[in-house]
């Protein structure tokens, strides 16, 4: 699948990985967050290989996969509480706050299965926000989002990067212009 | 010493060693089985209790022992492959499984044929035959799990874990079956164990056991070559190995 790919990401940097379907974008992202073990090569964080510091690394990252990964029977708020609660102590107001930030405050108490794809994407983004992780690993964060959603998402990404965070974004299309990002094209 | 073990991890080396071993193992097996059969069937005196029927132990006992030995070989190879990520271990485990299963079936059939004159039925829930049956289910579980995955390397690792968990359970299963049998049966029925045997009876049994072991080694080497080839098709050394 992926051969001879290597990338470096430092704080305050946004790396946009693009390429045609099936070029291994998602695989690269899953290897980066430690879900998938690479056959050769290694992923290191702050100089240590993640196999050594796996738990600290996971505590510092927030991963949003291609699907919004929400439990249909739980409400948006419950989804957030159980997901973020595993990582850090968080209050309900804080959770509602991050839902508001991504414009999903209205569906806080609705079961996730009744939400539209766009709303689910916003709830997933609220989860990434609430985790307050320094490293964001996002897989196609702009899918199913309307114009307002895309703009909101770009603003959140930019403020995250400006406050010293790092982000690895996989998207087969171009990122909105206001995001200055390094590009890495897997097709090349 | 460690270089020997390290070299065993490289597929081409294992492929070469397996190819070289086959003729020797087969030859040895033929000799041992030949002597065992002739001595066991014709030379050894009949048993005072079971008469000529006791000669069936020359096939039942070795296959029962082998069914367990092969499972242990499979589990060890799997554990080595899982812990040290040596892919050849998976190939050995995959090669050993069908052989072990066939020996287990052989042990079951010969066991019931041997039990028939004594119990009057082909199947009695004798503790050893029951454990052998459960061992067969364990084999079936490992083999079907390995083939259930599309991605062969994932199937290997899943089957490896099940083999390792299974080997831990074999003694537990055996103990609980013996305990369960003694619980209901009270006085145990005619013990199926090999009666204390004079030399003329014992040597053929040892020879048959050796023959079975060598035969297992030979078949394992043949299957192992196939398994290694299946797993290393892209490797460059395969080009010379399969040159017509």
């Amino acid at each position: 699948m992926l051969k001879g790919v290597s990338l470096k990401l430092a704080p305050r940097q946004l790396l946009h990985i693009c390429g045609p379907n099936g070029s291994g974008k998602t695989t690269l992202l899953r290897v980066a967050c430690g879900l998938l073990r690479p056959e050769q090569g290694d992923v290191s964080w702050n100089g240590h290989s993640i196999s050594g510091v796996r738990l600290e690394y996971q505590a510092a990252l927030a991963y949003a996969s291609h699907e919004p990964a929400l439990k249909g029977d739980l409400t948006a708020l419950e989804n957030l509480r159980f997901a973020v609660g595993m990582k850090r102590r968080v209050s309900t107001q804080e959770l509602r706050g991050s839902l508001e930030q991504t414009g999903a405050a209205a569906c806080a108490d609705l079961p996730a299965r009744v939400l539209s794809a766009g709303q689910r994407r916003r709830v997933a983004m609220a989860r990434v926000l609430a985790m307050s992780a320094s490293l964001w690993l996002l897989d196609e964060p702009f899918t199913n989002l309307d114009a307002a959603g895309t703009e909101l998402m770009s603003a959140l990404l930019r403020s995250h990067v400006e406050q010293g965070g790092a982000a690895l974004v996989v998207a087969h299309h171009d990122l909105p212009t206001l995001l200055d990002s390094r590009r890495m094209d897997l097709a090349a | 010493m460690w270089t020997w073990f390290y070299k065993l991890a490289s597929p081409p080396y294992v492929y070469g060693v397996a190819a070289a071993l086959v003729p020797w193992a087969l030859g040895g097996a033929a000799l041992a089985l030949g002597y065992g059969l002739i001595a066991g069937l014709a030379i050894a005196p009949p048993d005072y209790q079971q008469g000529e029927a006791f000669r069936m132990i020359y096939v039942h006992v070795p296959s029962a022992i082998l069914s367990l030995t092969v499972y242990t070989v499979m589990a060890t190879a799997s554990a080595v492959a899982l812990i040290w990520r040596i892919k050849v271990g998976h190939a050995v485990a995959a090669a050993a499984a069908p052989i072990g299963a066939s020996f287990t079936i052989l042990a079951l059939v010969t066991g019931s044929l041997w039990g028939r004159p004594m119990w009057g039925t082909y199947w009695a829930w004798d503790p050893r035959l029951t454990s052998e049956l459960i061992l067969l289910f364990l084999y079936a579980g490992v083999m079907s799990l390995r083939s259930a995955f599309e991605d062969p390397s994932r199937g290997d690792r899943a089957a490896a874990l099940l083999a390792t968990v299974g080997v831990v359970n074999v003694p537990i299963v055996h103990f609980s079956v013996v305990w369960w049998n003694s619980l209901h049966q009270g006085a145990t029925i005619v013990k199926l164990g090999a009666p204390s045997m004079p030399g003329s009876m014992l040597w053929p049994l040892l020879s048959m056991w050796l023959g079975f072991m060598l035969f297992f080694a030979a078949v394992l080497c043949i299957r192992l070559q196939g398994e290694v080839l299946n797993r290393e098709r892209q490797a460059t050394w395969v080009r010379e190995a399969v040159k017509p």
Partner: protein, 226 residues
């Protein structure tokens, strides 16, 4: 202020229970299956209570084993399908804690419920009330052990489409000692003799499985997740 292991464990168990009770029919199905299977035997054998009493331990335990296996398939599958299992795996608590919490929550919902229903089935099969405590204790230990063996099987078959039958083929051979000790404990309880021996073996088996299975189940899950 990261979350401690115990807090994360409690939260995860609460999540599992909350999810289970959102779909109560999923909870009842294994119990109904347990009842149905045990009513098959009197129909197949004879309504004669005295005869049923001899068969009762075996029937009860086989039905308990099969109904527990039914609900084990969904242990990881539902989370794996909608991607939440990945989120849990990445939440910095380590996969073992997640497997332990999920399996414990699953046992509470399926095994413990089964133990509570078992007196109902016991009377139907003619088991005297005096034998109920031992029966329920042995069923509790047995279902907990089975939940752990099932966790290993579920971990191995989570990625497969038709994994359910394979799960039973994998787990049942490992669960046979369980059936032997459990059924004989109940049998002795019925006949009034001392069931301590079988119960001790069952408890030993339960402790052995509960200590080793979490690591095996985590490795199993890691094999299919990676």
């Amino acid at each position: 202020m990261s979350v401690g292991a115990v807090a994360a464990f409690n939260l995860l168990v609460r999540r599992e229970l909350c999810l289970s009770f959102r779909r109560p029919d999923q909870l009842l199905q294994p119990l109904l299956f347990f009842l149905i299977v045990t009513t098959l035997f009197p129909l197949g054998l004879s309504p004669e209570l005295s005869l049923l009493r001899d068969m009762a331990p075996g029937v009860l335990w086989v039905a308990a084993l099969l109904s527990s296996l039914l609900s084990l398939d969904g242990l990881f599958k539902s989370d794996a399908d909608d991607g939440t299992l990945e989120q849990l795996a990445l939440c910095g608590q380590g996969l073992t804690l997640i497997v332990v919490a999920k399996t414990f929550a699953h046992w509470l919902v399926s095994g413990a419920a089964l133990v509570l229903v078992s007196p109902l089935v016991g009377t139907a099969l003619g088991i005297p009330v005096g034998a109920f405590p031992t029966m329920m204790l042995s069923l509790g230990l047995g279902t907990l052990t089975l939940s752990w063996l099932g966790a290993i099987g579920a971990g191995l078959t989570v990625g497969l489409k038709r994994g359910n039958v394979l799960l039973s083929l994998i787990v049942l051979p490992l669960a046979m000692p369980l059936l032997i000790f459990g059924a004989s404990a109940t049998d002795r309880a019925i006949s009034g003799t001392n069931a301590a021996g079988a119960l001790y073996f069952l408890a030993a088996l339960c402790v052995f499985t509960c200590t080793l299975a979490p690591f095996a189940a985590t490795t199993a899950l890691r094999i299919t997740l990676e």
